[in-house]
Every structure is written in C-alpha cells, then in structure tokens.
C-alpha cells in the first residue's frame, strides 16, 4: 500500500537505529503521546531495538482508556433502561463499567452495535425513525471532526432521533498535566500526528517554549517513529527545545481548517474527567447548548450513582507514564484482555494490551 509500506522498510529502520545509536551520548526519557504510537513501537519490536539509554514512556493518548467510568455506566444505562440503539467503536464496547461493559449489556438483550464510523450511526437513525440512536462519541481531536460531522449531517437531514454521548479529550492540557507531575520527568515528546493533522502545530509551539521541551509531531509507522525519536534526540543533545514536524506528508502547520470549523460549530471547550488521572480543566469538548437536542447528556435524564474504580488497577499511573504495565501486580494475572480490570488492557491502543499481546517484543 502506497504511503504505508515504504515506511516499514527494514533497511531504513536499521539505518535509523544506527543513526540514533551514533547520536545519543546520555540517557533520555521520551514520551510518545498517542496509544497508536505505543502500539506500533511495541508491535514492531522497536523498544527492544533502541539503545538502552533511550527510555520510551507511554502517554495518555488512548481515548477509550481515559473515558470516565460513569460515562460508560451512563451508556450501559441508556442501552438497557432507555432501550436506545447504542453504538460506538469496537474498543469502547468492551471497556468494563461498574455494571459491566456495553458488550455484556448486549449479551443480556440490549441493542448495542459496533460501528466503524459515526456517519453510519446517522444512517441507522434514518433507517429506524421510531427508535432513538445514540453514538458514544469518544476520541481525541482526530475523531472530533467525524463526530461533529455526524451531528451536522443529522441536523441537515432533519433527524430528531440521533444524539451523541460525547467523551472528547484534548492533547495539550494532558501534556501540561503530565509535565506537572514530578514523577514523570519527561524530557522530549513525540506529538500525535493525526491530532495535529486536525489542529495544526501552533498550540505546541507555546508548550515547547513553556516547558522547555522538544516536541516532534510524529507519524505511526516504524520509519516515522524512529525519525521522530532521532529528531527529538538531536534537539536534546544540542540543548534545543522547539516544535518539529516529522509527519509533513500529512500534517500542515495550520491543521485542517474545514475540520476545525466543524468542531467549532458543534463543540465547546469544557473541563473533563480523565479516567485514572482526574479532572483536567478545559481539557475536553462538549456539545454546544444550541445543539442540545443532539446531546444525549441533555436529551436523556440519567440519574445513576458514581461508582468507585477498581482498587487493583493502576491505569492512572500507566497513563501518566509513571509505571510500566508489567509493574502492575495484576498484569496478566487477574487482568487480561479477555477479563480486563481496566481500560488500557482492553483497547488495542492501551499500553497494557500492547504489552500483553507482544510480551516478547516489549
């Protein structure tokens, strides 16, 4: 596949590993923000191939992992008690809430559907005019345009039975939260290429200056990741701290203006609770009040108690890069992808699942 396979070239990978080894003179701690990058680093065995002085720390960029427990409980309640057609991405359906996952709700008769795109949910609402359709809209900035577009499409065609349960989180406030935690001690950051495809790189210039840290916007294939790491190390070794764009074939400095316009039309910035991390001010998006009829939170009255998190799960420490999955006492024991205690063991982008599936490579 063009624009994919050439960035998996083993010879190039070897050249980059060689150049990284030649460049590095002391230990550096670099965080890759996006769970997709974590997955690629682990799956391709890159962690074991990097020189030992480079420590990759896995960041909180797994939207399914940081979606709060009470929102999952709310989704389960909507599916079971309000009898809506509840749909979402496959990973989200499998994350455990306090009353089980959406998949378990489906097993007991609730109408839960796994979809590839929120636009399919709009079609579903059109085909089922006598049913309420709710899309559990999770995601970082990358996914927000698609979720916003589903609302705009639904409004355009005059649907009254479609709404989204929004769980949208933003990367820059998460960088602030990670940098503020003294235990993390991150020295360089690989920013998430697809988030920047939408948002551009402007907000990262300010972060790089304020935290005096190199930030390299990076793609997802092995050559992309190694090039991003090399760019970060070259800055660190030279005592520099600025924003570089490794993923220039996709990311433009200004982002995608159409996508940002759709986001601005549908969402407004709000405080957000991040599962395992806590509430981060101004770190998410919620549906604007003038579109309340497309907002499941406003549309359905759901009064359910806040449930406590599983005491054995250290997801918060894993998401902030303070602990590795294998440092958890339950990893691979009580907690497995088939029977997860926490979300990072569920999502393909969760660090725990990546370490579990590719244990011999991590």
């Amino acid at each position: 596949m063009k624009f994919l396979f050439e960035y998996r070239n083993p010879e190039k990978v070897a050249q980059y590993l060689d150049e990284i080894t030649k460049t590095v003179t002391r230990p550096w701690k670099i965080m890759e923000l996006c769970g997709g990058q974590t997955h690629s680093l682990v799956k391709n065995g890159l962690l074991a191939l990097l020189p030992p002085s480079i420590q990759m720390v896995h960041g909180p960029g797994c939207p399914v992992c940081v979606t709060p427990l009470h929102l999952i409980d709310k989704a389960v309640y909507l599916a079971k008690e309000k009898k809506v057609i509840l749909c979402s991405f496959g990973d989200m359906i499998r994350v455990p809430g306090s009353q089980g996952s959406l998949l378990e709700a489906k097993a007991t008769g609730a109408d839960v559907r796994i979809l590839y795109s929120p636009l399919e949910a709009v079609k579903l609402a059109q085909q089922n005019p006598d049913r309420e359709v709710v899309f559990f809209a999770v995601g970082f900035e990358t996914t927000a345009p698609a979720n916003a577009l589903s609302v705009l499409h639904a409004r355009q065609i005059g649907l009254t039975n479609y709404s989204i349960l929004a769980s949208h989180v933003l990367v820059p406030p998460a960088i602030d939260a990670v940098m503020a935690d003294e235990a993390s001690q991150i020295q360089g950051i690989l920013a998430a290429g697809h988030v920047c495809t939408i948002m551009g790189v402007g907000e990262y210039d300010e972060l790089a200056k304020r935290h005096q840290i190199p930030i390299v916007v990076t793609g997802f294939e092995p050559v992309d990741l190694l090039q991003g790491i090399l760019m970060t190390i070259r800055q660190l070794e030279a005592g520099q701290a600025f924003v570089e764009n490794q993923y220039s074939r996709v990311v433009h400095a200004e982002g995608n203006p159409e996508a940002r316009r759709a986001i601005e039309e549908v969402f407004v910035v709000s405080d957000r609770e991040w599962r395992g991390i806590g509430t981060i001010p101004q770190s998410g998006w919620e549906v604007k009040p003038n579109l309340a009829s497309f907002d499941a939170t406003a549309k359905f009255d759901v009064q359910i108690p806040q449930a406590p998190e599983c005491a054995d799960c250290i997801a918060g420490l894993v998401l902030k890069g303070i602990k590795k999955p294998v440092e958890c006492s339950q990893f691979g024991k009580k907690c497995t992808p088939e029977n997860p205690l926490g979300a990072p063991m569920v999502s393909s982008e969760g660090a725990c699942a990546a370490y579990y599936h590719f244990a011999d490579l991590a």
Partner: protein, 91 residues
C-alpha cells in the same frame, strides 16, 4: 483510536440531495466509502488519509519523499556544520 489509513480516491458522489460529499476509496485491495467534507479540494486519484469514515488530509507526495530522504539530508547538513567549524578553527 486515532488510526488513519491512506487510500486513493476512485470516485466521488453527492448524497442526501447533494448536501454530503462522499468518495469510494481504495485501500490496498479493499474499497470503502468515506466523507470528503473535510478535504473539499480532493480529486479522483488523490491519496487521502481516512479516519473513522472521514478523509482528514490529502497526502503530500513531495513531503512523503522528503521523509524518506531525511537521513541523507541530515548527513549533508552535519557535514556542512563540521566544515564550517573546521573553517572557523582554521584547521
């Protein structure tokens, strides 16, 4: 979740009475439908990056090649810096 795949636009059509711009996109051997609302200037034959059924960027061929030649570029750059240093130190 933020997974996005590059594919080539094979055809473009308008749905919902022309309100929505959709395309058939070829990914390797698989064709899937995606919205072009976020990349209004994309044409048939262009490669776009698709995330959850929405094309979010047109892939820049020239930049794609630059990434692949980065090592050569920094090699030349390092040589330049080195020769400038040698000049400065009069070695």
């Amino acid at each position: 979740m933020c997974l996005a795949i590059p594919g080539q636009i094979k055809s473009i059509e308008y749905q919902y009475n022309g309100m929505v711009k959709m395309a058939k996109i070829l990914f390797g051997g698989i064709t899937k439908e995606a919205s072009l609302d976020m990349v209004p200037h994309a044409q048939i034959g262009d490669y776009v990056l698709v995330h959850v059924g929405v094309a979010i960027s047109v892939i820049d061929e020239e930049e794609a090649l630059k990434t692949l030649s980065y090592l050569e570029e920094i090699g030349e750059l390092d040589e330049l810096v080195e020769s400038a240093q040698i000049d400065r130190h009069g070695l």
